[in-house]
């Protein structure tokens, strides 16, 4: 796992070494009069797995499409593998992997045929360190599609298609891989298989991976570092553990007294319990204290973003951000 800078701490300028794969400063995007991104900063080093987490409409896809070079930002400094994506040439493109959402493209092609064909385009960009493309049979084995090599793409199941999408994304042995909401519509088994595949990739060749998701559990499982994007900016970042520790939200205290149930939310659970027990002593039963989890914090945030109602809960939970 990678050391993580605390958001809010003054960030030392990144050394200009080649280990920085992604470097985004003050990225802004405006559609008409609507600001979608207001000043996103993010960096990634070689071999890191980053999860960009946020509710729908937070700007995840816009961010990733700018980094892929599919969309021009309104303002900001973006460096992807040392190049501005807006000026990225084919040599640059050959070092990227983009896993797209599939629908029904290439339905008449056979799996092996498609991977071999798309791999052909990467052959001129092969280097001593990174031979390209990935040999088709190895790739099929890696994504678990060997048995379906000669199946027509249209006949694959949803999970198999998604693995094919990943295979297409990595056939050029990318140094940086983008996964935009990779597990939407997956059943739990397919999701688990996919997670194993991502782990294998990150461990294989130090591939840097940036994935977007709105599923916190998925981000916790896959990522070295989570960046939470809401309202067009990154409001929190850190390893899953660090984020969980930073959650400073209310604790929920539940108990029964004389057969009646009570629930109380408090920032100071210990103090509240001391008072509660002093006052009611033995009559307090079934006592339960539940600290806000990362998930609670995230859900509170999503709720505020989606309803537009500021309850203040998300702010209290992420209170360290206030010092930023």
């Amino acid at each position: 796992m990678t050391a993580v800078e605390l958001a809010g701490a003054t960030r030392a300028p990144d050394p200009p070494d080649s280990d920085v794969v992604l470097d985004v400063r003050d990225l802004r995007m405006r559609y008409g009069t609507v600001d979608v991104l207001h000043g996103v900063d993010l960096t990634a080093r070689r071999g890191e797995v980053l999860a960009l987490l946020g509710p729908n409409g937070a700007g995840k896809t816009t961010t990733i499409e700018i980094l892929e070079g599919f969309r021009l930002p309104s303002a900001g400094a973006v460096q992807v593998l040392g190049t501005d994506p807006a000026r990225g040439d084919e040599r640059w493109r050959a070092r990227l992997g983009v896993v797209l959402q599939s629908w029904r493209d290439h339905g008449k092609w056979r799996v092996r045929e498609l991977l071999r064909h798309l791999g052909d385009f990467y052959a001129p960009y092969s280097t001593d360190r990174i031979p390209r493309p990935w040999p088709v049979d190895d790739l099929l084995a890696t994504v678990g599609l060997t048995a379906h090599a000669d199946t027509r793409v249209a006949r694959l199941s949803g999970g198999q298609r998604r693995r094919l999408d990943v295979a297409v994304g990595i056939v050029g042995r990318p140094e940086l891989l983008f996964l935009d909401e990779p597990t939407v519509g997956f059943d739990p088994a397919a999701r688990r298989e996919f997670h194993e595949l991502v782990h294998r990739l990150a461990d294989l060749d130090e591939t840097t991976i940036l994935l977007t998701t709105h599923d916190l559990a998925e981000a916790e499982k896959l990522a070295d570092r989570i960046l939470i994007l809401a309202g067009g900016r990154i409001i929190a970042e850190g390893s899953p553990d660090q984020l969980a520790r930073r959650v400073a939200g209310d604790a929920e205290v539940r108990w029964t007294r004389d057969g009646e149930r009570y629930v109380h939310a408090t920032a100071d659970a210990t103090g509240f319990l001391r008072d509660l027990l002093r006052e009611h002593g033995d009559r307090v039963r079934e006592l339960e204290v539940r600290r806000a989890s990362l998930e609670d914090a995230y859900l509170a945030l999503v709720h505020e973003e989606e309803t537009g109602i500021r309850t203040g809960r998300a702010e209290r939970v992420w209170q360290q951000e206030g010092n930023r």
């Binding site: 499409e65 493109r93 983009v98 797209l100 029904r104 008449k108 064909h117 385009f121 990467y122 001129p124």
Partner: protein
């Protein structure tokens, strides 16, 4: 290895793979053979009528004209339709995510559509030879004319198809192009000579490539004396070359600009938006 040469080669292979896929797909085969069958039946019933002013079979005149129409259908509508579908289902975005992928994609499409058009000419012409008299396929001159009319026809229509396919985003709007083309068929002397139509209608018809595609194919496959009943009393090869060439130049000037603009705007969220729309259409 030069990346561009490599992509051209990959594009050629792409075209051949898609060609094999389309000719082993039942639905696609039906789409190729059903209109052919309809055309051949129509020509069969027209074989007894004569071209006005001659005793030559109207059916034998219609078949070459329809082959010219087939080039327009294949080159223009065929390519446009493929571009629209490939944009909707994400094929084009996949090509964009690969180095030089757009070049390979485009070469593949040109190979595929050209091959389908040529195969289309063959499967329409061959059965016709068995029941139509007067087609001069034994004459080397016929093949010589075909050898420039068919490629020129494709070069005149394919870039236009690329432009239309880039501009139209919703498959439903293909009707905007298909309907005028059906109108143009009536004006362009495909199924019946237009000598009887008013002069201005003839003038309008001769602005568009369809008239010249039909004329060019007739000039290749019909006996020389049939030229006397054409407008101007000749096959007008120079004019054919001029008008089709002008459309080719126009298309080739526009297509790269429009294609590049279309490709630049392609992104995952656009494909997702189209998918949503298509789902609503189906549901």
């Amino acid at each position: 290895m030069n990346p561009t040469t490599n992509a051209l080669r990959a594009g050629l292979r792409r075209g051949l793979i898609e060609l094999r896929a389309t000719f082993t797909n039942g639905q696609d085969l039906w789409n190729y053979f059903f209109p052919t069958a309809v055309l051949l039946v129509a020509v069969f019933w027209m074989r007894g009528s004569t071209v006005p002013g001659t005793d030559f079979s109207l059916g034998a005149r219609t078949l070459p004209s329809a082959l010219g129409m087939g080039l327009l259908f294949g080159g223009l509508l065929g390519l446009a339709q493929q571009l629209i579908i490939d944009r909707e289902d994400g094929t084009l975005l996949r090509a964009k995510a690969v180095p030089n992928g757009m070049l390979g994609y485009l070469v593949g499409k040109l190979v595929l559509i050209s091959a389908i058009s040529l195969i289309g000419v063959a499967i329409q012409l061959t059965p016709g030879l068995f029941f139509l008299d007067g087609l001069r396929l034994g004459d080397p001159g016929a093949w010589l004319t075909l050898a420039w009319v068919v490629p020129l026809g494709l070069v005149a229509t394919l870039p236009l198809g690329a432009v239309i396919g880039s501009v139209i985003e919703n498959p439903r709007n293909m009707g905007l192009v298909v309907l005028p083309i059906f109108g143009l068929i009536a004006l362009s002397g495909i199924f019946y000579p237009i000598n009887g139509l008013p002069g201005w209608v003839q003038g309008v018809a001769q602005v568009f490539p369809l008239y010249w595609l039909g004329l060019g194919m007739r000039s290749a496959l019909l006996p020389a004396d049939l030229a006397t009943v054409e407008l101007g009393g000749s096959w007008r090869h120079l004019e054919t070359l001029g008008v089709l060439g002008a459309w080719a130049v126009l298309g080739l000037a526009l297509a790269p600009v429009v294609l590049r603009r279309m490709a630049r705007r392609e992104s995952g969220s656009r494909v997702a938006a189209r998918r949503e729309r298509a789902m609503q259409r189906v549901g």
